[in-house]
Symmetry: D2
Subunit: 366 residues, 4 copies
Amino acid sequence: MGKRFLIVSFGESHGEAVGVVIDGCPAGLRISSQEVEDELKLRRPVDKRISTPRVEEDKVEILSGVFKGYTTGAPIAMIVRNREVDSKPYEEIRDLPRPGHADYTAKVKYGGYNDYRGGGRFSGRITASFVMAGAVAKKLISKTLGTEILAFTSQVGPVKLGEIQVERVRKLRYSNPVRCPDPETADKMVKVIEKAKREGDSVGGIIKCIVLNPPIGLGDPVFDSLESDLSKALFSIPAVKAVEFGSGFKVAEMRGSENNDQFIVEDGKVKTLTNNSGGILGGISNGMPITFAVAVKPTPSIPKPQKTVNLKTLRQEKLVFKGRHDTCIVPRAVPVVEALTAVVLADHSMRSGLIKTVLGGKSERR
Amino acid sequence: MGKRFLIVSFGESHGEAVGVVIDGCPAGLRISSQEVEDELKLRRPVDKRISTPRVEEDKVEILSGVFKGYTTGAPIAMIVRNREVDSKPYEEIRDLPRPGHADYTAKVKYGGYNDYRGGGRFSGRITASFVMAGAVAKKLISKTLGTEILAFTSQVGPVKLGEIQVERVRKLRYSNPVRCPDPETADKMVKVIEKAKREGDSVGGIIKCIVLNPPIGLGDPVFDSLESDLSKALFSIPAVKAVEFGSGFKVAEMRGSENNDQFIVEDGKVKTLTNNSGGILGGISNGMPITFAVAVKPTPSIPKPQKTVNLKTLRQEKLVFKGRHDTCIVPRAVPVVEALTAVVLADHSMRSGLIKTVLGGKSERR
Amino acid sequence: MGKRFLIVSFGESHGEAVGVVIDGCPAGLRISSQEVEDELKLRRPVDKRISTPRVEEDKVEILSGVFKGYTTGAPIAMIVRNREVDSKPYEEIRDLPRPGHADYTAKVKYGGYNDYRGGGRFSGRITASFVMAGAVAKKLISKTLGTEILAFTSQVGPVKLGEIQVERVRKLRYSNPVRCPDPETADKMVKVIEKAKREGDSVGGIIKCIVLNPPIGLGDPVFDSLESDLSKALFSIPAVKAVEFGSGFKVAEMRGSENNDQFIVEDGKVKTLTNNSGGILGGISNGMPITFAVAVKPTPSIPKPQKTVNLKTLRQEKLVFKGRHDTCIVPRAVPVVEALTAVVLADHSMRSGLIKTVLGGKSERR
Amino acid sequence: MGKRFLIVSFGESHGEAVGVVIDGCPAGLRISSQEVEDELKLRRPVDKRISTPRVEEDKVEILSGVFKGYTTGAPIAMIVRNREVDSKPYEEIRDLPRPGHADYTAKVKYGGYNDYRGGGRFSGRITASFVMAGAVAKKLISKTLGTEILAFTSQVGPVKLGEIQVERVRKLRYSNPVRCPDPETADKMVKVIEKAKREGDSVGGIIKCIVLNPPIGLGDPVFDSLESDLSKALFSIPAVKAVEFGSGFKVAEMRGSENNDQFIVEDGKVKTLTNNSGGILGGISNGMPITFAVAVKPTPSIPKPQKTVNLKTLRQEKLVFKGRHDTCIVPRAVPVVEALTAVVLADHSMRSGLIKTVLGGKSERR
């Protein structure tokens, strides 16, 4: 994915490791494995009430591309090893595809050769590779452009977060296990999740994202529009089923006079009165905050019995799956949304020449 | 866009021509410029009540890649000339960006060199190039895989289409100017559009799309998921602000037990009881109909006066724009959605080897 | 081909038109169809003694991407129509592949659907699309970087050009029909070609190319090395069978102490004493002139009778082909080598940020 | 590199590891780390007389994409750790670029952030990643198409190998330290290398490659011709300065009647009497053996004193470098040429549908 800041992801849920190669990161960015691990911690299960007991320690190994603490311009390869995996439940259901999962499509597509343990290549586990790449991309766009990315949980099941100030989002979004910047709403969300858990079920939700201080001019018209590339990235997160920018689906019921963001001058700069466009006009960022929302489906793996088909015998069967799974994956997807957004913005910033292949001369080490 | 069935679009609203090059189309597909023109007709303004009076005759010239009526395997270049353009209104507002339009971002990104006449490269006019490519892609996947694509208007302003049978969609969607397969609802939609027009305003809407008889196994996990590539294509349509697959944003309020599509056997084939996934699991088609919806914003160009900024003087000004524009662009986007869907499916069918580089030996002419 | 300055070629020898789309050309470059035609003239047959009598007028139509004389940043599509084609000789030998030509491989690859008239997609005619793209690329790198590209014929059959000054290359290379900057040697080359023509045969040769004043730092290590991308482009010219940089094949017999270009300081700049590397070290330009040579095979179409196989009957047959062909295609490939070199350099200059997406503010028209 | 069988290389000479990710390898190919290590052994220094004393054990770790001994269709990541590195000599010459090396261009391009130890990203060490990818590609095309790749040293300094039978190449090419299939010539080559070593110098050479039993129809006309893609890959091998197919540079002095490969029928198949085209016509394989040669320059690192420039002071200095280096790198490049050839052929076989995304049903394990 990407053209200038390119990432390649690899790894499976229960395989040896999950990793990423970043090709095209500029030389001269200070980065450490500790910083990458700090980002990975954000997607780790934080609360037994809502998450799987699987412990992911996620020690990052930087295999290449970083020298004396700085990126070199060469490809950066990073991995985390997979630990504490229990593949037994998956061996038992090898021929029984789990509803809502990729088991069936993977088996057909790969002729049965796919690694089915823990969802294999289709597991949420692989988003660790996105977060590793995102850690580098976030730092890159923050240092060079001052751009900041804030994602947060805005809905879990029926519980919706109302209007909220950016300052609170920045400070509070990672302060609770559901990644909702309003503590009261967060509590309600936790309760919804706990209830679903008790009932052997799962819940979905919505993640919102705000990009502050984006450069003007990112995105190319037509096929490489910023919306095109952001949505392509976001739909690569397992369980994301919808993406909308700015007013999104609400535009259907809006009049042009209402939806159009009228231009004003503020502090000598061109801005818009409203931001229904989500900061993107004609596929190109206009300098206003970029805003979007994604819908995350309820975890497909649930303890409740479900109908399935034995793919060997083609007989109807009942599935009772015992693998460990989060009751709600929305909170874990929050840093993943931030990560992929950073990767896309880094890529487009490089494409349009806003970030150069060698960073500024302030480094102590040239 | 694409990897095997690759398309490159070019042209501007008031330039010489709009065109497309298809690189990678298999050899041996029978195609004529007439067939391409027939598809183009579907995106043409059909009714003065809701559309611009601009007449687009759209005579297709196939410049390469077709020989004796069949594709040759070489790149297919096709163009339509731009006629009857009136660029005067655009000269008058050269420094006054229209709210909701790409005028401002384009000027910043291209340093003022962009062709601003009729929106230039950002005009809906360029979707003619998508439709030309789609005409070839549609025929390709229909002939080789029996796959059919049906898009239709499901909402205009507050008027929503209810449940509808596939058979009616197939027959009736192009029978009225709003491309809604239910004539009664279509009438209501027309009225909503007429009212907005009278009021110097515009309206948005929603387009739904169903892909019937898709092959199983299209899409790659992670970055080239079918959802990723379809959404990337759909967001390249000007005015599209949201994309959802299957149950889309509704998954936020669903339980796993409700959203999961349980597997059954029907006619010896594995199917699912419901289709909340929209026919895509793990980013890969599962053989069920692929379903998605896109939100189209209200036409940004409206007769009503709007606030804008003179980009030369940075002074606030009032904009009253006199260019011709559809009051609702939803109907014209319907065939465009079909076209780009066909292009993405053709590309993925070729990637996974379901469509070969030379089509079957039934041709009379080898 | 390319990543930032991307070109897509289309068209066949006897089809409607030959054309190119350039995607990614910066906004603000002044360009006219006349300038492109001037480049095309350089590849036109100039002398009946050595070339085909086919007249190629090559009137360039710019279909998009240029507005008021300047590039807009949008894709630039250009075409030339094919005129005065005589396809009759090709109909006669439809099942008799010409030795040395793509007739056989094309027929197998495209299942017989390929346009076989005049070699179709495999004709030297398609290099007109390279030259059109090259006209833009040449101007781009000349205006922004001061880089100049000089290709010339250095060998035809046994006649070799000796050492020659750059100044003479610049002035004289297009002063004679063989594109050799030494008039005396040029005369000998013409005689070699005339002799071959009289004998119903054809001759090959070598083209050398010097890039003056290239920027330092073009090319990426490993797969996108400058040598990799230049050679990829050069081997897309029909009839090119070998490419070497700097000392090329001679390095096999050189010692390291002899082949290494030792570093010196000249006018405060780092240079090398010799230039055996051809200006490229580790796949990256080092600021010295980039030098390379390509071998062009003798025209495969010759009047002499040759052995071939009837692909329908699989019987051995004798081929006497009557199509019109140059006895030596080396001279016509000279501007093509320049064009593709310019395209690759423009692309790499944009990749490394040396050329921006909007050109300098000197334009009168912003 | 590549479109369907895509490889991404990473790692530096003295970094943590060198590795590769293969994206797009079909599911169902049996592969073990042992097989990959066996290929890596072929590029290991085998003889103190001609090679560096650095010991490369090259234990391969497969991190992903292989499950129960078979490829899964997911990306395959493989690494070898770097061991026994001595970076001291490189610290000493940090500001003294070695002639013939990428030290200077790398420093300029990456602003001094590049990993300069052992040549970093520009080291021959990175070809280990090519060989790992090649091990998979070789097995893939061998099992599915029966295609075999034989590279060998045909020249070292002035010593040239004459005509040789394919059978001997297959059996003897890896039987001696210079990878020359004729033991007598090999001895002479060793002596040339030893002499250069004694004299503090190095020597270059030529590698030839024959691809036996290639499929017909690989390669696309114009930019993705088989020659284009093979040469792009081959020029990514450090030290390669020239590539020629079939008769290569000799075509300059040949007549068309001599160079054209006339068609004949043999065993009911279309073949050519000669193979001057090197098995490629119009950029597409014609079924005859694919033949090409590459020139490898003499190792730039030599004990002899050389002129260089201190990049900090811009003063002229004398360089006496003490790092360990092969006197002749030609032999080590032989398996690298085979590996990259296999990767390109695997990629093109997948592009044209000759190799499917899931391999045949003969696997015991579905």
